[in-house]
Symmetry: C2
Subunit: 376 residues, 2 copies
């Protein structure tokens, strides 16, 4: 038995932040959590950026009786693959984090108050890149006295950030573990990301982003339903609700949504929509659509970005992933190897499609532990 | 060189129609096209039901200078796989056909005028099943003196109708060729179909179906964008627009949709939305969600429906299909074989995912021709 990991949210502030695109933002604040202790040399830090709809609650509990721990608790903690008896793990809320309404999340984005007007930025908030999320992380690490990371690891959008770290700050990264993520994605994902945003744009309460007390909750819920199904897999649905009607559902009532799977998607999305912000979702979509590793260092193409990467890489992917397709993962692996980078790979199996990278990460514990222990 | 196939739309009317669910509809009308000649014995007829967003324009041109022929022109015509020098081919617009605004389409659905009120039915139109589409087809064939079909063949929703024919009217069907379709679909497709409908429900102009002169075009366009991407495949997108910006597209403008793939989806959907009806789309979604073969004969389960099927079957599917998944196709093949039905199978390859069943059907010409010629 290992001890229960307890954590708390901390807050990091930057008076002024300049984006990769050159825009200045005043009073940036993000939340972060740490697990384990930084050693005297400051050399045992592992950074864990989160996924699209995730937060910096990567592991542990705030209180011993919290019903759920952080999302990667299966691998982060005392004696686990990312052993917090040995490593100092740090996880940081992104800019434009989706979960603005979650009291444990600290972020800056279009829902934040513009100091110049005292009202939410809305669409006047500048576009931010995944490279900007990483710039904020770099500033926080510097404030903690960490100049080099033992590793950067994260799932999905967090995995894209591992590539950004390796390309923009190659001298600061010992190794990376991108999980269910590949920068070599095609226009197919650009299109799907656009469709994720579409229901919000359709909601008349969105008002081109200028909502305040009456947010576009219906559109946001609809977006979250679509994101959820896109990130899952038929195996999960078919083994669960299947084609059954929900209790009381009437197939002949066309205006209703009578099926169990529809009901399940709706309930999940309603819960999450209450804590989420529609504009933040749109900003996240664009940050992912426009991602190229090394964008923080001025890279303009995938090739340019990949040419900067030197960090040994453990690339874990889910073969059934419908968001970051297996064939795109192969392209990133090939590009790294062509550039002489050491690449290990592993598969994450299970019924959850893309979400296997969250739900089944524990299955990769041994491979992750070994990779973190390797000498390069 | 074969002669150019010319065709025209005809109209079939039923004064009264009773649905599988027991609802009566007055003054049902549907359009149909025929290719070739019915022989004296009335035994050379092949029925071709259409797909979700399709029409009865399966082959040929209305005028020699039409830019495009019908959707399966590659296999239907003089000297082609479905040889109209030998067979009498008939294709019929479904009830609640999506393309109400297309002048060549005749259909009855929620956009039709309710004779009782003189206004569109809207949601007061009864729910219709795929079994109802087939009932209308049966009535038309009887009016033409056709009591037995040499074959029923169709793609996607048209493929589901081949199973309905074989299960509800087993004595009337010589063989079936379901293409990119399987009744053994899971809750995954139930969920996706729900998401296809979601943008329409979000559009305030939808008004629970009670729109008239101001239809919910934005929601309908958004639905068509989603349906299109769902029915395609990454290979098509990646080989086309990829991740490029459209001319004039600015990634930093979050309120816009700057990518080439977004632009392509929008243009296609806008064109189609003008001819389509939002309520009809919702009725089609439900008809597909609730499909079980043999529903017209009272079957309540897939097993019950499949137990009625005797028709030799050529099942053609696209391995990359993201709508009707390959593993579901395998289940239908297994169920037919367990019941002693003769099943041939074939794959349709290409970059179009589900749409390979339309775009690449010509590749299956030889297999289709041989199957139609087989003695059973």
């Amino acid at each position: 038995m290992t001890a229960e990991l307890l954590t708390q949210k901390r807050r990091f502030e930057l008076e002024k932040f300049v984006t990769c695109g050159g825009a200045a933002i005043q009073d940036v604040a993000v939340g972060y959590e740490t697990y384990g202790q930084l050693d005297a040399a400051g050399g045992n830090a592992i950074l864990v950026p989160h996924y699209f709809s995730g937060t910096s609650h990567a592991a542990g509990r705030y209180r011993a009786d919290d019903p759920q721990p952080g999302y990667w608790d299966a691998i982060i903690g005392p004696g686990k693959a990312v052993d917090t008896d040995r490593f100092f793990v740090i996880s940081i809320d992104s800019l434009v984090n989706l979960n603005v309404g979650d009291e444990t999340v600290v972020t800056t984005g279009p829902a934040s108050l513009d100091p110049a007007t005292g009202r939410p930025y809305g669409m006047s908030f500048p576009a931010v890149a995944i490279g900007d999320f990483v710039r904020v992380q770099k500033a926080l690490l510097e404030s903690l006295g960490i100049s080099r990371l033992h590793a950067v690891m994260g799932p999905s959008m967090g995995g894209l950030q591992t590539f950004e770290w390796a390309a923009t700050y190659p001298e600061c990264v010992g190794r990376i573990i991108p999980v269910i993520a590949t920068p070599h994605f095609g226009g197919w994902l650009t299109g799907w990301l656009s469709l994720w945003a579409q229901p919000i744009r359709l909601d008349p309460l969105w008002k081109q982003g200028a909502y305040d007390s009456a947010p576009p909750l219906s559109g946001l819920e609809a977006s979250l339903r679509l994101i959820t199904l896109n990130a899952l897999h038929s195996h999960w649905v078919d083994e669960g609700a299947g084609r059954a009607l929900a209790p009381g559902g009437v197939a002949g009532d066309i205006a209703s949504e009578p099926y169990a799977i529809e009901r399940a998607l709706t309930i999940g999305a309603q819960d999450r929509a209450k804590k989420s912000d529609a504009n933040h979702l749109l900003y996240l979509v664009r940050a992912n659509q426009s991602f190229i590793p090394g964008q923080g260092a001025g890279a303009k193409t995938l090739e340019e970005g990949f040419a900067r990467i030197r960090a040994p890489t453990l690339m874990l992917h889910a073969p059934d992933d419908q968001v970051f397709l297996a064939e795109w993962v192969e392209k990133s692996i090939a590009a790294l190897r062509e550039n002489g980078v050491t690449v290990e790979t592993g598969e994450i199996l299970g019924p959850y499609g893309h979400y296997n990278g969250i739900m089944r990460i524990g299955d990769c514990s041994e491979q992750i532990a070994k990779f973190l222990a390797r000498e390069f």
